[in-house]
């Protein structure tokens, strides 16, 4: 099924060596690529396959579950063709950075700032990489799996006592 997707066919032709995995689940196609080619692939999808809307940029923390801790997720949408594509790229903890997609879409600016803020992933060539939701002097990255739910230096919530 996923092999018949218009984007997957083209990506396999052009970036055969960078594709790590292609998955289809519930009708949604996810292509995992290597992090070094992410900008080439995203700009190719935008210019040649008219995936012109970057819906979302986010990350997942696979602490202790995968060898490369973080996974960047890009949700693309094509307004002319009305279809979606999800691009993922793994980011290792010891080399915690990836090229910024701001050179392809302006949308990526704040979305990447949020990922930087909450996951601590760095974006190379980002024009304005600052925290966005947390205060500038905040320590730690709240959406990491090893960040406690109740916040730093606090007792875990034990439920209602009464």
């Amino acid at each position: 099924m996923a092999e018949n997707n218009r984007a997957v066919i083209k990506l396999k032709e052009k970036f055969a060596s960078s594709i790590v995995d292609v998955v289809e689940f519930r009708g949604e196609v996810t292509v995992t690529v290597t992090k070094s080619d992410i900008i080439d692939i995203l700009s190719f999808l935008k210019s040649s396959l008219s995936f012109n809307l970057l819906t979302d940029v986010t990350a997942i923390d696979y602490l202790g579950k995968k060898t490369e801790r973080f996974m960047m997720v890009y949700q693309l949408y094509s307004i002319p063709n009305k279809d979606r594509l999800r691009i993922k790229a793994a980011v290792a903890e010891n080399e915690c950075s990836i090229q910024s997609a701001t050179q392809v879409w302006q949308t990526a600016n704040w979305l990447e700032r949020e990922v930087y803020d909450l996951f601590g992933i760095n974006f190379e060539n980002h024009p304005d990489l600052r925290r966005i939701l947390m205060t500038p002097d905040w320590v730690g990255h709240p959406l990491r799996k090893d960040y406690p739910l109740q916040g730093p230096d606090r007792e875990p919530y034990k439920g209602r006592l009464s």
């Binding site: 012109n52 979302d56 986010t58 879409w105 949308t107 939701l133 739910l149």
Partner: protein, 390 residues
């Protein structure tokens, strides 16, 4: 000789026209804006983090509090994503009621937008009128869910309960009256010279730029892009309804105003069609491993009590995988991206808030315009800080 220098002005977070706790640091050259630095996060409650520690059922009330002016749209987006993961079908009656409530919610959200937008620009009468109509929607919320704002009404597999008998007549009357009210608002605003002076040609963003900035919803359609998820990627049964998608031409605040007003008229049409489709039947799918048993069984049988207790205490396992569900919320594309690891709690839940992405374009839209026009642009973007900060 007089010297001039740029002035830095702080606007918000406590400011009546920033629609919540939005702070902006403005750099002004006289009255002209040269730079805008929005500062957000004052309302950050960590909804995404919290949801990783709750069962799928317990996450639902958190979604009410994102865009608190359109709670049921948030419920719908989340529930559809969970249902996609679970791969379950929803009974027809539940689908129809969901559509009615999603469109009522759109009306409610647009009414608050119109009221506040007009008030910001100085037209106070519309504010009073629009809130009068919004009250009817809130009463409907209360009638079916018991809460006026935090509805928490949809469930994976259908609805929490069936609607009471008086629901149909109330909604039908509202959908019949609403076009007349809309004429009333239009009479006050559409040809009003002050309104035109403040909105025409203000906050212009071209279609190309709007897509580049990821703007969605009425703000994108105001720039002439004919795209609506309800028609182009139908969900929740929207493919069975006929409605027009209004599109603007001049990419300015006035066109976005017109688009939203037509959208409200179309919402009334959808509600009428849905009411005609409303037939008696179950409102919850027949999958006991996911849905709660009827209260009658819980109170009267030991099996029912155990069933209820099991779902309430440990939730239900959800197949491993990841889904993204986008819905056309009143403010734009609201997306829920859920990664499941096969347990009863989401491994990661990402909310794609339309207001967050739309707000980013504010500098593009207001740079070089007057300070007073910035207030109109904030209004036309229709932002809600509960959704931006999450």
């Amino acid at each position: 000789m007089a010297t001039t220098e740029k002035m830095t002005l702080n606007m918000g977070p406590q400011h009546p026209s920033t629609h919540g706790v939005l702070r902006m640091v403005l750099e002004l050259d006289g009255e002209v804006i040269t730079k805008i630095t929005p500062d957000i996060g004052f309302l950050h409650r960590g909804v995404e983090k919290l949801s990783e520690h709750r069962t799928y059922h317990q996450v639902l009330p958190l979604t009410d509090r994102l865009d608190y002016l359109a709670p049921m749209s948030n419920n719908l987006g989340y529930i559809l994503a969970v249902e996609k993961l679970l791969d379950i079908e929803v009974p027809e009656r539940a689908q129809t009621i969901r559509i009615i409530m999603a469109e009522m919610t759109r009306l409610q959200s647009h009414l608050v937008w119109l009221a506040c937008h007009a008030l910001d620009i100085g037209a106070m009468t519309v504010f009073i009128y629009a809130f009068r109509e919004r009250e009817v929607v809130m009463e409907t919320y209360e009638l079916i869910s018991g809460a006026r704002m935090t509805s928490n009404f949809f469930r994976a597999g259908g609805l929490s309960m069936d609607v009471p008998p008086e629901f149909e007549a109330k909604v039908r009357k509202f959908a019949a009256d609403m076009p007349g009210y809309l004429d009333q608002y239009e009479g006050l605003l559409t040809t009003n010279p002050i309104w035109l002076k403040r909105t025409v040609g203000n906050g212009v963003i071209s279609a190309e730029d709007a897509i580049d900035y990821g703007i969605t919803g009425p703000a994108l359609r105001g720039s002439g892009v004919d795209w609506d998820l309800r028609r182009d990627n139908p969900y929740a049964g929207y493919e069975n309804y006929k409605f027009e998608i209004p599109v603007g031409k001049n990419c300015d605040t006035f066109d976005r105003y017109k688009v939203r007003l037509v959208e409200m008229r179309e919402a009334c049409k959808i509600i009428n069609q849905a009411l005609d489709n409303l037939k008696p039947g179950p409102v919850l799918a027949d999958c006991p491993q996911i849905t709660y048993p009827p209260k009658e069984n819980v109170y009267n049988t030991i099996e029912g009590l155990i069933h209820h207790f099991k779902i309430a205490s440990e939730g239900y396992p959800v197949p491993e995988g990841e889904v993204y569900q986008g819905v056309e919320a009143p403010k734009g594309e609201l997306g829920f991206y859920i990664v499941s690891d096969g347990t009863s709690k989401p491994y990661r839940m990402r909310i794609r808030p339309p207001s967050f992405v739309n707000l980013q374009a504010i500098e593009k839209m207001s740079k070089g315009s007057m300070l007073a026009d910035l207030v109109a642009v904030i209004g036309t973007l229709d932002i809600v800080l509960g959704e931006i900060d999450r």
